[in-house]
C-alpha cells in the first residue's frame, strides 16, 4: 500500500481499544465495580490513539489561524472529557478517524483512472551515447539523443525514426487500437508501445514536452478546474465553519447545555457537502480520460450536459477527411492538362483537396513542377504557369475574378455537386479548362452518431462548411443533419455560431482543431477531434477526442450528464443529512457519537456514489460500441 501503513496500524490499535472500552463499559453497567475505572482508562486511551493525528492537524492549522474540521472535533473531544463523557470522547475520535481512513481509501478509487494513465508513462529510456546503450530516466534524455527501442517496450520520447521498422501501438495518442507501421522517417510518440520490430529514434521532444506528458498534465489540471457549483460550495463552507462555532457558543450561552453545544459542533461539519462536487468531477473526468474523451475541467462537464445544439465541420469531421479524385473533366484540350495545371498550383498546399489532386496526378505518373502560388483563403490559388495566369479553386474564386461558366459547364458542375462531390475548377489564361470532382466519404459511424445525439435531446444539428452548398447538402441528407451552412470562410463559421447561439442557447462546435480553431473558440464549447497530437487543438478546445471516432461524442455527453447528476444527488443528499442531523440535535434525539457516525457515513456514501461514475460507459451501457482501449502497461511482445 502506498499510503497509510502507519495509518492502518493506528486504525487497528484504536479498533482494539474501542472494543475493549465497550466491553468494560458494558461490564461496569452490569455492576462489575472494578470495570469502571478500567473502562475510563481504555476510553481515554482510545481517544488519545485515535485522536492524536486529529489534534496534531488541528493545532498545526491553528498556528496558521486556519480553523478546520479537525479543530471542531478537537474542541468537542476536549469538551466531552471535561464533562466526564469519556465514552463519547472515545467514540467520536474513533468514528472520525475510521471515517477519514475509509474516505481516503475510497477517494483513491475515484482517482484510479488517472493513475492507470500515469502508469503508462515511460519510466526508463535506452539511449545510445558514444556507442554505448544506457538506460536512463525519461527526464534525463536530451533533444537529439538517439533512443533504442526493442519489441514490447514503451517509446520514451517523441521523435523521428532513424533506422529500423516495426509496428507501434499508438492508442495512448491517437486512440487507434490497431498498431501502425513505422519505418525510417516516420513519427513516433512517447507513451506508445513498439509491439514488434526494432527502432532507432531521434528524440525531438522529451520529458514534459512530449504529447503524452501534455495529455497527462491536461487531465490533471482539468480535474482541479472547478465546477461552478463547486466554487459556490467552497465559498459557502468558508463562512460556514466559523458560523457554526459561533452558533454553538451561543447555544451554550443560552441553554447552558454543553453536550448539546458540542454535538452541534460535530454534526455541523460540512464534510459531505464540500466533497460532493469534487469527487464526482474527479471520477467523471477520469473515466473520460481513460476512454479517450478529454474534458478540460469541471465547469466544462457542467456545460457539456446542457448543450442544446451541435455544429459540425464537414471535412475531416463528419467525413473521413481523405478525399479522392473521382473525375477529371476537360472542356478544352487533353484531360491530363487540367490535372497537371491543378497539381502545379496546389504543389505546396496542405489543404486536403490539394492532397487529393496531387495523389491523383502522381498515380497518373505526372510530375508537375510546383508553382509559386498565392493562396486565397477558403477559395483556392492563383499562380502563373506556362506563361499564363492560372486559377485553381472554387466557383466563388472564379466569380471574384469575373470569370463566368457557360450554361453547359454550369449544369455539369451542378450535377457533380449534387452527388456530394466538391468541384475544383481549373482556369488558364481566362478560359475554363475543366474541373476535378473530388469526393470525401462520410465516416461510417456518422449517421448512427447523429441519431444517438438526437436521442440525447440535442435539438439542432448543423453542418458548417467552406464547401459548396450542393456537396454539403448531399452529405447532410445522407447523415440526417437539420441544417447546412455552406460556402463559409473561417470568419463566416464564427458568425454562424453566434446566430446559432442566439437561436438555440448553448452550442458546441466539433472540428478537427487545426483549421477550425477560431470556430472552436467562438462556440460555447469547442470539441476537437483526433486532436491529441495537435498543440493548437489541445489549447483552444474545451474537449479533445483522442481518436477520430465520432461515437465518443454521445458517450461523452452521456458521461457529462451522469457526472452532473451524481454531483446534484450528492449535494442534495449532503444538505438533507445535515438538515436532519441539525433537527435531531435540537430535539435532543442525536448525541455526540451518533451524530459523528451519521456524518461520517454520509461522507462515505457521497464518495461511493461518485465511484459509480467509473463504471459509466462499460460495455453494458454502450451497447457493443467500440471502445478506445488504452494499452495496458504490461503488454507482452508478440
Amino acid at each position: 500500500m502506498r499510503f497509510g501503513s502507519k495509518k492502518a496500524k493506528s486504525m487497528v490499535l484504536s479498533t482494539a481499544l474501542v472494543v475493549v472500552s465497550f466491553i468494560l463499559k458494558e461490564a461496569a453497567a452490569a455492576g462489575h465495580a472494578a470495570a469502571g475505572p478500567a473502562a475510563t482508562l481504555a476510553m481515554l486511551a482510545t481517544a488519545a490513539v485515535a485522536g492524536f493525528p486529529i489534534f496534531k492537524k488541528a493545532f498545526g492549522a491553528l498556528r496558521y489561524k486556519v480553523v478546520g474540521i479537525d479543530a471542531l472535533v478537537t474542541i468537542a473531544v476536549i469538551g466531552a472529557i471535561a464533562i466526564g463523557e469519556f465514552w463519547e470522547a472515545a467514540a467520536v475520535t474513533y468514528l472520525f478517524s475510521l471515517g477519514d481512513y475509509l474516505e481516503s481509501r475510497t477517494i483513491e478509487k475515484t482517482r484510479s483512472s488517472i493513475k492507470a494513465l500515469l502508469d503508462l508513462a515511460p519510466d526508463k529510456v535506452r539511449v545510445r551515447r558514444g556507442g554505448q546503450d544506457l538506460e536512463i530516466g525519461p527526464e534525463a534524455v536530451l533533444v537529439g539523443d538517439v533512443v533504442v527501442v526493442k519489441p514490447g517496450e514503451k517509446i520514451g520520447v517523441d521523435g523521428i525514426v532513424l533506422e529500423g521498422s516495426g509496428y507501434v501501438n499508438q492508442a495512448t495518442i491517437s486512440g487507434e487500437s490497431l498498431p501502425v507501421h513505422r519505418a525510417e522517417g516516420g513519427e513516433v510518440f512517447s507513451g506508445t508501445i513498439l509491439e514488434s520490430g526494432y527502432l532507432l529514434v531521434e528524440a525531438k521532444r522529451v520529458g514534459e514536452d512530449t504529447t503524452f506528458a501534455r495529455i497527462l498534465h491536461m487531465v490533471e489540471e482539468a480535474q482541479d478546474r472547478k465546477a461552478k457549483t463547486q466554487k459556490f460550495l467552497e465559498s459557502f463552507s468558508r463562512w460556514y465553519t466559523p458560523a457554526i462555532v459561533a452558533a454553538s457558543a451561543l447555544l451554550f450561552a443560552f441553554s447552558r447545555d454543553i453536550e448539546l453545544a458540542l454535538t452541534l459542533l460535530v454534526i455541523a461539519c460540512p464534510g459531505a457537502l464540500v466533497i460532493s462536487a469534487p469527487v464526482a468531477i474527479v471520477a467523471g473526468i477520469g473515466n473520460g480520460a481513460k476512454r479517450g474523451f478529454l474534458v478540460k475541467g469541471g465547469d466544462i462537464m457542467e456545460k457539456l450536459g446542457s448543450i442544446k445544439a451541435i455544429a459540425f465541420d464537414k471535412t475531416g469531421t463528419l467525413t473521413a477527411g481523405a478525399p479522392e479524385v473521382r473525375q477529371v473533366r476537360s472542356f478544352a484540350g487533353a484531360e491530363d492538362e487540367a490535372l497537371k495545371i491543378a497539381a502545379a498550383g496546389e504543389g505546396y498546399s496542405e489543404h486536403p483537396l490539394a492532397k487529393a489532386i496531387l495523389a491523383e496526378a502522381a498515380s497518373r505518373g505526372m510530375a508537375a513542377e510546383p508553382a509559386a502560388a498565392e493562396i486565397i483563403p477558403g477559395r483556392g490559388v492563383a499562380f502563373a504557369y506556362g506563361g499564363k495566369d492560372c486559377l485553381v479553386g472554387s466557383r466563388s474564386l472564379l466569380a471574384d475574378k469575373g470569370i463566368a461558366l457557360s450554361a453547359d459547364q454550369e449544369s455539369e458542375v451542378a450535377r457533380e455537386e449534387s452527388r456530394g462531390r466538391t468541384v475544383v475548377l481549373v482556369v488558364a489564361g481566362g478560359a475554363v479548362l475543366g474541373f476535378i470532382a473530388i469526393a470525401d466519404a462520410a465516416r461510417p459511424e456518422a449517421a448512427a452518431e447523429i441519431l444517438a445525439l438526437r436521442k440525447l435531446g440535442i435539438r439542432r444539428i448543423v453542418m458548417l462548411t467552406g464547401d459548396n452548398p450542393r456537396a454539403a447538402q448531399a452529405v447532410a441528407q445522407e447523415l440526417g443533419i437539420d441544417e447546412v451552412r455552406a460556402g463559409l470562410l473561417p470568419q463566416g463559421k464564427v458568425e454562424a455560431l453566434e446566430s446559432l447561439k442566439a437561436a438555440y442557447g448553448r452550442v458546441a462546435m466539433v472540428g478537427d482543431g487545426v483549421n477550425d480553431a477560431p470556430a472552436l473558440a467562438a462556440a460555447d464549447l469547442g470539441i476537437a477531434m483526433g486532436g491529441a497530437g495537435s498543440d493548437v487543438a489541445m489549447e483552444t478546445a474545451d474537449v479533445v477526442l483522442v481518436s477520430a471516432d465520432l461515437s465518443r461524442l454521445s458517450y461523452g455527453l452521456g458521461l457529462s450528464r451522469a457526472t452532473v447528476r451524481v454531483m446534484k444527488q450528492n449535494i442534495y443528499f449532503a444538505l438533507g443529512v445535515a438538515g436532519l442531523l441539525l433537527a435531531g440535535v435540537l430535539v435532543k434525539a442525536v448525541n455526540l457519537s451518533f451524530g459523528m457516525l451519521v456524518h461520517e457515513a454520509s461522507v462515505l456514501l457521497v464518495i461511493l456514489n461518485a465511484v459509480r461514475l467509473l463504471k459509466y460507459g462499460h460495455k453494458s451501457t454502450l451497447q457493443g460500441r467500440r471502445q478506445v482501449q488504452w494499452p495496458t502497461a504490461a503488454q507482452p511482445a508478440p
Binding site: G4, V66, D70, D100, I114, V274, V282
Partner: protein, 71 residues
C-alpha cells in the same frame, strides 16, 4: 524563484487544501502555492534565498500531511 511540486498522502477533504494553502501563504519566502485535490500534489513557488525546500516540506508535515516525495 523556483516552483516545486510535492506529492502528499491522499488529501481527502477540500478543506485540507484551504489549510495547506493558508499555511503556505503565511510562510515567509513563499510567493504562491496551489494544492491539487485530484492528485494530492502541492505546487509551491518560493524564493530559495529565503526558504529551503526542506523547510517547506517540514512545515507541511508539521501541519499533519505526510510528504511522500518531491517530483
Amino acid at each position: 524563484m523556483t516552483t516545486k511540486p510535492y506529492q502528499l498522502e491522499t488529501v481527502s477533504c477540500p478543506s485540507c487544501i484551504a489549510k495547506i494553502e493558508g499555511m503556505l501563504k503565511r510562510t515567509e519566502g513563499v510567493a504562491g502555492s496551489q494544492v491539487s485535490f485530484a492528485t494530492s500534489k502541492v505546487k509551491v513557488n518560493f524564493d530559495e534565498a529565503k526558504i529551503g525546500s526542506d523547510q517547506i516540506r517540514e512545515r507541511i508535515v508539521r501541519l499533519g500531511y505526510a510528504v511522500l516525495g518531491e517530483k
